[in-house]
Symmetry: C2
Subunit: 493 residues, 2 copies
């Protein structure tokens, strides 16, 4: 039996986490294996679980335990840090009335359907009232939560605790001129690289063999995880030793599933590296989306598109796919770092990806503050796109209708993708300063790098703020310098 | 909101079912996909769910609703039948104190481990104290439940509601002389059939193609179900339109996975045929194990090992596995109905299977009544085996240690396998009396047969007793005649 108030609090918090992990298990099954007709009942199961979790997470018992725990002196600094996060989360959750939670979930369900249709027809007008609705809910939530400087702060807090909109805006403003310049140079260079060099026939089963070997080689533990197939790749954690990745396969290009696996395995390594005994507590969960994305980007781009990596893996890939034998390492590296402008974010390469994020952040921030009306979003999007990319989307499907996020109420989310890229570059550059890590990497041995990430990032979980993680690991808050340097070396160099 | 007491009762009962179906989903994942290290946390998730379900199923609210519903007049006969079953189940569950439930589950967990070791070493002494423990718990449960004639009645009631031990014993006594005679003749005939006629190389992916085609052709709905791979095949229902089958593959013999799929698909067709709108209520669930097994055996043996079935499917199988082209229909049928004596029940063929059950039923009944001491089980087993099969198991692993059931406390379960065989033969013979069904079957068209089973068996769910299902469908209670006739025609002929 739990003896102290803090222990009792932890037991209650862990119960909520156990219920939510059960929900995640059902959700994973739904995405990967569930037959179509099972959908309606699955929704009942999920909403039952979600109701139970919510009731405990926001209930009187939780409140009482939090109050009592706050009035006791917690000597253990980890306990104190956990308590701080739990109070923070509880207060935020308690500020949103149950009615609004239901309204948001129902509106999101309608909005998602409308978005699918609207994108198909490339018809923004169909989606506009739903976006209006979701934006209104986000604004009401921001007001209920409260904010220091602008309503967007309150939304960003959901994904990147302790980070201000102003800070992100400053980083992005600093990035913008350099990024557009780098992207232009990268796209120019990309024109000299043969676009279809790697085209061929790559049977799914053989891709799976290679992907699994590579994921295992960078440290992903297949006794505590697995890889399945879905249309939209993701990583989800079902328990302290149960991390599920997914990818999708293109039989004409094996690098599509492979870089997908490296990205998701980056998320997975983080989840597998969180302290098992703290599962369910802030100290046992991921810190923020910006930190999470730093791990996926680090393995996908800094490791996965590097020369030493392919020095090691191209010969193996050529064993599995014999027609790769005629491709030189030089040509292969050029092919997997070839840049071009594209309208669709999820298809964007490393050199142009952040431009898509800068655009979304600017648009969202203005929408949330009320400076940009929903009806004016397409025009604003296209103007901003023209400025960043030098071209205009042919239609709304290739413009402001392309992402699912807004239909789900996920305003404030996009910024974390670029924060992830900045963090990835900064962490990787800092790790490389250790000769032991750098020389192992030259031989495609990533164990020292992973150990460093475990120690500096993973093991701290989510009790510290993302800024504290970055400060502790690199001696500095998130900065644009390393990412720009990396992009310049890779794409302009 | 539910308006009547009965509606409220149904809502509560459905909530229990929803929680248990969630548990089934986690359990399915555990058997099919879960990584090894996830086991401990999965156990926590499952026991949380099971605790919630148990609390509602046996709680005061449930008792109050049942009491109130019993004091109202239910005009709808289905509602009245459901209420009767719910009261029956509640009273049985309420009679077992929570402490005993925990004791049983913990003892079973130890017993299962001990059984695995004991079977590996073929050492009954290691398992004996655990069997003693599980038997004692079963006897205490039987006493708590109460019984009309002998304690075994109370255990049988768990699996075959409304069926008395005496009735089963009478059926089995009638079967015994004929079955041993048929088995002897079948084994004799089997000696003239080449045992390895179908040996070859059958890649798993190709087996999966054939199995899926066949399962779909007999009516299994893949939009409401799927087939995965496990060591021990099973069928589990995760929701009203979500039935999951599993099978295992032998790359040297495609019939192993195929008959497995036909068997599990038989269970699956039953589950898919239960009334969707009654899911969670007695009228929306399977009636009994003996009825369930009748469906699996009917499709596996009566349909799946018949001439018209292979007239249709052997050419298709030979398309997929070209070396089958040289095998005649005659030889193929002989191969899939070849009988031989074997020590292991799960490997037994149709002609000898029931002998294994007769043995277990006799041993169990004597154990439960206290007439056979645990220490004397191996000797009693071997003596009974000698009488039925004319040979003696070489060791306990091939004798009384072979089955998992006792380690799980599943005393009273085995009889339902043979009841299933009897029911299968009786249902199939009755259906065949309709010319429309019989002539369709000659063309391997099973839609009319499935429709008949839907109407006579599936659609009634578990509100009636198994005896009432059999009476309604065939005009008679379960009888030995049809099964014996079928075996004679197939194996003695």
């Amino acid at each position: 039996m739990p003896s102290t108030i803090y222990d009792q609090l932890c037991a209650t918090v862990r119960e909520v986490s156990l219920i939510r992990s059960t929900e995640s298990t059902l959700s994973w099954d739904q995405e990967t294996h569930m037959p179509d007709k099972a959908l309606a009942f699955r929704a009942h199961q999920m909403s039952w679980l979600s109701g139970k979790a919510h009731a405990i997470a926001t209930g009187r018992m939780m409140q009482k335990l939090l109050d009592k725990a706050q009035s006791t002196k917690l000597r253990d600094p980890k306990a104190a840090a956990n308590l701080k996060v739990l109070v923070h989360d509880f207060q935020r959750e308690a500020k949103i009335p149950g009615k609004l939670v239901v309204e948001e979930s129902e509106s999101a369900s309608h909005a998602k359907h409308a978005w699918i249709e609207a994108r198909k027809q490339s018809d923004f007008a169909t989606f506009a009232p739903h976006l209006e609705k979701m934006l209104g809910i986000a604004q009401r939530k921001a007001d209920l939560w409260g904010y220091a400087e602008e309503p967007y702060d309150a939304l960003l807090e959901t994904y990147e605790r302790g980070t201000r909109t102003r800070e992100v805006a400053a980083l992005f403003a600093k990035l913008k001129p350099d990024l557009t310049q780098i992207a232009r140079a990268a796209v120019e260079r990309g024109k000299s690289i043969k676009p279809n060099l790697l085209r061929g026939h790559y049977p799914v089963a053989k891709q799976q063999t290679l992907n699994a070997e590579i994921a295992a080689s960078i440290g992903f533990d297949f006794k505590a995880g697995r890889i399945d197939t879905t249309t939209h790749p993701f990583c989800t954690t079902l328990g302290p030793r149960d991390v599920r990745l997914t990818t999708r396969y293109d039989e004409k290009d094996f690098t599509s599933s492979l870089f997908g696996v490296l990205h998701e395995a980056g998320h997975g390594l983080y989840e597998q590296g969180l302290p098992e005994s703290d599962f369910g507590l802030p100290s046992g969960r991921a810190c923020s989306l910006g930190i999470h994305e730093s791990q996926s980007r680090l393995w996908e781009n800094h490791v996965g598109r590097s020369r030493p990596f392919w020095q090691r893996w191209l010969p193996r890939a050529a064993e599995i796919f014999p027609h790769l034998r005629k491709i030189s390492l030089e040509d292969f590296l050029a092919a997997v770092t070839r840049a071009e402008y594209s309208f669709i974010r999820v298809e964007a390469d490393e050199a142009t990806y952040d431009l898509h994020i800068l655009l979304r952040f600017a648009i969202e921030r203005r929408m949330v503050s009320g400076k940009l009306a929903v009806k004016d979003v397409p025009e604003a999007w296209n103007a901003e796109f023209k400025e960043l990319f030098g071209m205009s989307p042919p239609d709304a499907a290739h413009g402001c209708l392309q992402d699912i996020h807004w239909s789900m109420g996920g305003l404030g989310y996009f910024a974390t993708y670029t924060l992830g890229n900045l963090n990835a570059a900064q962490l990787y550059a800092t790790a490389l300063r250790q000769r032991r890590i750098a020389s192992a990497i030259e031989l495609a041995d990533y164990a020292p790098l992973l150990n460093w990430l475990r120690e500096k990032v993973h093991t701290h979980g989510g009790a510290p703020l993302p800024g504290e993680i970055m400060q502790g690991a690199t001696g500095k808050p998130t900065d644009a310098r390393h990412h720009l340097k990396h992009l310049r070396e890779r794409f302009v160099g």
